[in-house]
Symmetry: D2
Subunit: 144 residues, 4 copies
Amino acid sequence: MMPEPFRYSFRVRLHDTDAAGRLFFGHLFRHAHDAYESLMAHVGLPLERLIAEGRILLPLVHAEADYHRALRQGETVAVSLLIDEIRTRSFAVRYRFETDDGQLAATARTVHIQINGDGTPAGRLSDDIRNALDAYLALDPEGS
Amino acid sequence: MMPEPFRYSFRVRLHDTDAAGRLFFGHLFRHAHDAYESLMAHVGLPLERLIAEGRILLPLVHAEADYHRALRQGETVAVSLLIDEIRTRSFAVRYRFETDDGQLAATARTVHIQINGDGTPAGRLSDDIRNALDAYLALDPEGS
Amino acid sequence: MMPEPFRYSFRVRLHDTDAAGRLFFGHLFRHAHDAYESLMAHVGLPLERLIAEGRILLPLVHAEADYHRALRQGETVAVSLLIDEIRTRSFAVRYRFETDDGQLAATARTVHIQINGDGTPAGRLSDDIRNALDAYLALDPEGS
Amino acid sequence: MMPEPFRYSFRVRLHDTDAAGRLFFGHLFRHAHDAYESLMAHVGLPLERLIAEGRILLPLVHAEADYHRALRQGETVAVSLLIDEIRTRSFAVRYRFETDDGQLAATARTVHIQINGDGTPAGRLSDDIRNALDAYLALDPEGS
């Protein structure tokens, strides 16, 4: 059975748009990461604590997005997140961005690798992270 | 009697911070404008409608901020807005940014001038705008 | 024979970094697009003219990046661009981001589709665009 | 005699603009800080070194800008910087933003205070900073 996604929403702001009148594509990743930060806080692993403690960092090694329709200022966007995949020392998050009327506006995927505070790769994903994310693990990973 | 301010809040995100570990000062203006967009939508003048209609634009002619203490990732910030001043063809908004514990983190002020769709200055602020903002007009303008 | 890539460079600024001390991943796309804007201006198709004329728009339908090593404030990054693929109504740009010492820091790829000013898909890529990009067409497309 | 200002330039990019077709006001501060970072590197005090060493930080306590005319995508903007004022533990930078044709598009001013690595205020501006900035000290401070 598919887990319930983590939900997040945002409103497209003037500074999100560009002179072509639509969301500047790069800003979608900012909103994706905001949603991911909320997920991590929700599962008890706020990024600010990880950064402050300095033992575990989870930098992105990959990010991608597909844009299905333009987003414009004032639109409310519902984001749903699932963990796409958990590997030895990395995990992937997938995002769906939908407008109020249920239309799919975009999808995205980010891959995060665990490194130690000194920048060396972690041997394996910490149990805390693995356990926290497990509740959101999708059962039909969309590999890239 | 002082009017009740318009209230807005946001969370400081990783991308708001810089390598010095604190909110990058310029991003405060992005959040100020988000709050202002919310105020304008609340009073029935959503900026996206003004921009789409193209008859009235309200570009900023001045912006300023004072920073009282560092804001860090994960902090929730309450913004309260009041209209600082309404002039012939412009108005000013003032913002207070407070953290959860009630500490003042920053203040800001933006001045918006009404121009016509073709870029020429408006003769005077439209009645719609004047009336909409009047409910938030502070009684002790802090001129700059 | 491989064409000479289009070259662009930028310096990592404080606002590009986050509290983890490294370039926030999403900002790489801003720099990628800056490089793409420079390429388009260089080949005689400045985006501002396309947007002003309103007949042709080239929104992104896909963007992706792989991050090989952290970028930090003050580093100079050399970007080289090639056209990865030209299709009926779209084209793809690939980017390599290298630091001063020649290390690969990241790669990216963006796919742009031609649409008409009214938002409908173009029948085919305009000859102007096709011809302008042809000089940078890589001979070993990395499809995704 | 007035010192020669420090000069910096940038091009207005698509992501700098918003749906109203002009530079989003808040982004001017990003460019101002880029120019300031360049100045600091030029005088031998690159911010990345100060941040890495962690003994001296120079956070902003005030920022302001006046906008004289809209900036649009593709425009090249020349920024000239002067040190507006050097005080016991702070200094101010002023910026002029001009377009190619010599028109004044905006001015800005930022005030930076020296703090110690632990966040406490510095007793006084370090001699290194004072000496480095002195060559750019304007002789007609525009206090605010």
